[in-house]
């Protein structure tokens, strides 16, 4: 098969899996559903690999593109369903399909005793389909299709256990928060289309957008350079999907879903869509210094803010969720500061180690029968030795322990931030690295190493759950060493620049310091002392700086009040009572009145008929001008009279 027509099968394989599993799950045995789903994703991973090696042999600026069909061709808008497999989407599709495959395998074990096993796998396949549409889309409109699709799947999977009202509420929150971002995304697309179409470009291909940056640069809308406007609008769209500061609130709540979902959607793949979007449009972004600074400030603030919140959380999945938000902040910093590929590399390594940590946490939760509070865990290092080891790999990796993947990717970002001259942002990134190491060590220490207060009887995870963990652990260890190959594959020229030794080693030293602090401060006596002496601070941080409450007060309640008022006035009174019920009542009363005339007497009916005929005659005659009518009657009478007179 030629390269170009192979691209579509990366996307369509999971779709086929979804269609089979969704429509015919009734007739397929339970494990066959999971095998079909996993095979579908494996197939797209294999296709991605094949295309990856073909692409590697080509020059770095070529791309394999695949036009499936013409989606819409109307005046001034010509959009194809087309996929492009270039260096960036090659990386993304490999990561997405690979990590998805491992998580599919893991889910077979994790969801084994769930009654909705089949539905779970069909949703997962649908998600992988939309995610691959997102990363392989050739134009921004098709990307948006995938963007919305993954949002839908996220919603479906967060609320997967819908019997619990809190889960469906969390799903709803995620969906609505994402809608806010999507509105900005659409606004950005509209601006892009407005400027491109007024210059004679009627498709929204990324190529067209990226090669016409000067058009955006030279026009302005509402006094703002349209380049900056587009970049910022699309970035706000990305903050929704990638959980950045104003719109991050849905991600911690999204942990209500099954843990494989948290690992796949809310750590490894979907939340990185925003980073991918910025990287995809990097020519647009790098032309606008304002937008880049905007991204840097927002993401740096998000990174440190969520890292601080993560310090005090008790729920193991919440800690990982806040850590994800923080790491996404790193990715945005990496994309916006200096060399964008650093952010993408961190995306890849993060996908490995965060998926690993989530899946290990899931294995622990599964083993302890849905226990998520880290203070109820402990001494798992003896009882769940294999989970302890893989979780340890993830912990060291995210903490930036030397020569693990997180160390390379995070260091690269931090160094480039320093080199690009954003000293303040660099400082925030370094402090966040320290905090990351600290809270991760705290979690690891409390949940795994320290003696448990309660007697725990974990049951061992099956090998179908542990093997994906081992693979991810190996990836988390070794993927960092491929940084140079990765950067050269992405076609970016990296120039080695001299860094002061203090700057070069600060992140590592601070990370190690964070790990030590994590062990020291969680020791029993010190932690007791700290929690009593700083209880007010602890409470503020534990309650997440009351951001949810502020949103509730500022947005949700006024909105609820407005909705309720308009509902009561417009819906209830005007539409329901007056228009809908009013019409019905009017006809009812009219029927009652006219029913009086229908009394069953046949002769009365005949009289009605007579009157009806008379009225019709009258109406007909009234259309004739009055003088003519009088003349007509007069002449008839005269004629009749003369005729009668003849016979008399």
């Amino acid at each position: 098969m030629t390269s170009s027509s192979l691209v579509r099968w990366i996307v369509f394989a999971p779709l086929a899996g979804f269609i089979i599993n969704f429509l015919f799950s009734r007739f397929i045995k339970k494990y066959l559903v999971s095998i079909i789903a996993s095979l579908a994703v494996l197939l797209s991973f294999v296709f991605s690999c094949i295309l990856f090696f073909r692409l590697k042999a080509m020059p770095s600026d070529t791309a394999i593109s695949d036009v499936v069909f013409n989606w819409m061709n109307i005046t001034n808008l010509n959009i194809n369903i087309a996929f492009v497999f270039d260096r960036l989407s090659a990386i993304m599709s490999l990561v997405v399909s690979g990590v998805s495959f491992l998580i599919h395998i893991y889910s077979i074990g994790y969801m084994d005793d769930d009654s909705d096993f089949k539905r779970f796998f069909s949703y997962l396949n649908l998600f992988v389909f939309f995610m691959l549409v997102l990363v392989l889309a050739n134009n921004i409109l098709l990307l948006f299709v995938g963007w919305e699709g993954v949002g839908l799947c996220s919603y479906l999977l967060i609320g997967f256990w819908y019997e619990n009202i809190n889960n469906s509420k969390a799903g709803k929150k995620a969906f609505i928060t994402n809608r806010v971002g999507d509105a900005f995304f659409i606004a950005g697309m509209v601006v892009i289309y407005y400027i491109l179409s007024s210059n004679g470009f009627y498709n929204l291909d990324f190529n067209t957008i990226n090669s016409n940056v000067s058009l955006f640069y030279n026009t302005s809308i509402f006094g703002v350079s349209s380049l900056t406007l587009i970049a910022i609008l699309l970035f706000i769209g990305a903050t929704g999907k990638s959980a950045q500061f104003p719109l991050y609130v849905w991600l911690p709540d999204a942990m209500a879903g099954p843990t494989p979902v948290s690992a796949l959607i809310h750590a490894a793949t979907m939340v990185t869509a925003g980073v991918y979007l910025v990287a995809r449009l990097i020519p647009v972004y790098s032309a606008s210094v304002t937008a880049l600074n905007f991204i840097l400030y927002i993401s740096a603030f998000t990174a440190i803010f969520s890292a601080i919140i993560a310090i005090t959380q008790r729920d193991i999945k919440k800690i990982l969720a806040y850590s994800t938000i923080s790491q996404l902040g790193y990715m945005f910093m990496g994309v916006a500061g200096g060399i964008y590929i650093g952010g993408i590399f961190h995306l890849v390594t993060h996908a490995f180690f965060k998926a690993l940590m989530f899946l290990s946490a899931g294995a622990v939760i599964h083993a302890l029968s849905n226990e998520q509070d880290i203070f109820n865990m402990g001494s798992l290092s003896k009882k769940l030795k294999n989970i302890f080891i893989v979780m340890g790999v993830g912990w060291l990796s995210i903490s930036g322990f030397p020569f693990l993947s997180g160390y390379f990717s995070k260091d690269f970002i931090i160094e480039n931030l320093y080199l690009s001259g954003h000293k303040g942002i660099w400082l925030v990134a370094v402090v966040t690295a320290f905090l990351t190491a600290f809270y991760m060590t705290r979690m690891f220490n409390i949940a795994f190493i320290k003696e448990s207060k309660k007697e725990l009887h974990p049951h061992r995870p099956t090998s179908v759950m542990t093997i994906p963990l081992y693979i991810l652990a190996i990836l988390a260890i070794i993927s960092g060493f491929f940084i140079n190959g990765f950067i050269s594959f992405a076609g970016v020229n990296r120039t080695e620049e001299f860094l002061p030794l203090t700057v070069k080693y600060t992140p590592v030293v601070l990370s190690l310091l964070g790990i030590i602090c994590g062990f020291v401060l969680t020791a029993d006596r010190i932690s007791d002392f700290l929690s009593t002496s700083l209880s007010w601070l602890h409470k503020i941080v534990y309650d997440k700086f009351y951001v949810d409450e502020i949103y509730d007060f500022l947005i949700i309640r006024p909105l609820g009040w407005i909705s309720k008022t308009t509902f009561n006035i417009i819906d209830r009174v005007i539409i329901d009572r007056t228009l809908v019920e009013g019409t019905a009542r009017a006809f009812y009363q009219g029927g009652r009145v006219s029913a009086i005339s229908q009394n069953g007497n046949a002769q009365i009916y005949a009289v009605y008929m007579l009157f009806g005929t008379a009225i019709i005659l009258l109406v007909y005659l009234s259309s004739v001008p009055l003088l003519n009518l009088i003349y007509w009657i007069y002449s008839n009478i005269v004629f009749a009279f003369t005729e009668i007179m003849k016979y008399i």
Binding site: N599, G600, N601, A602, Q603, A606, V607, L610, A640, E643, I644, Y647
Partner: protein, 101 residues
């Protein structure tokens, strides 16, 4: 078109209409209707005097057929009503809609 026939038709029509409205006997009402149609028929048959018109006899025949059919249905209904209600007075038949429900 002979005017005297027209006058005759009018007179017959109005006479039968008066019969239809004044009587309470259902058979006589049916007769009134038949007579009205016949008066109409006379008026139509009268049109045969118009030059080159050969349709009026056809109409007349059609109306005859319709009248015959209508009379058959009407008489059948009257027989049913008479059997069930033991009366032919229209005023006493005003609750007919409830009885034949």
């Amino acid at each position: 078109m002979k005017f005297e026939f027209m006058i005759f038709s009018f007179i017959l029509f109005f006479m039968s209409m008066v019969v239809f409205f004044k009587t309470t006997n259902i058979i006589i009402m049916l007769m009134g209707i038949e007579l009205m149609v016949n008066a109409l028929n006379i008026a139509i048959a009268n049109l045969v005097w118009i030059k080159y018109s050969f349709f009026p006899p056809v109409w007349v025949m059609i109306i005859f057929a319709i009248t015959a059919a209508e009379a058959a249905i009407g008489l059948a209904l009257i027989i049913v009503i008479a059997k069930r209600m033991k009366t032919l007075d229209v005023k006493k038949l005003s609750n007919i809609k409830e009885i034949f429900k």
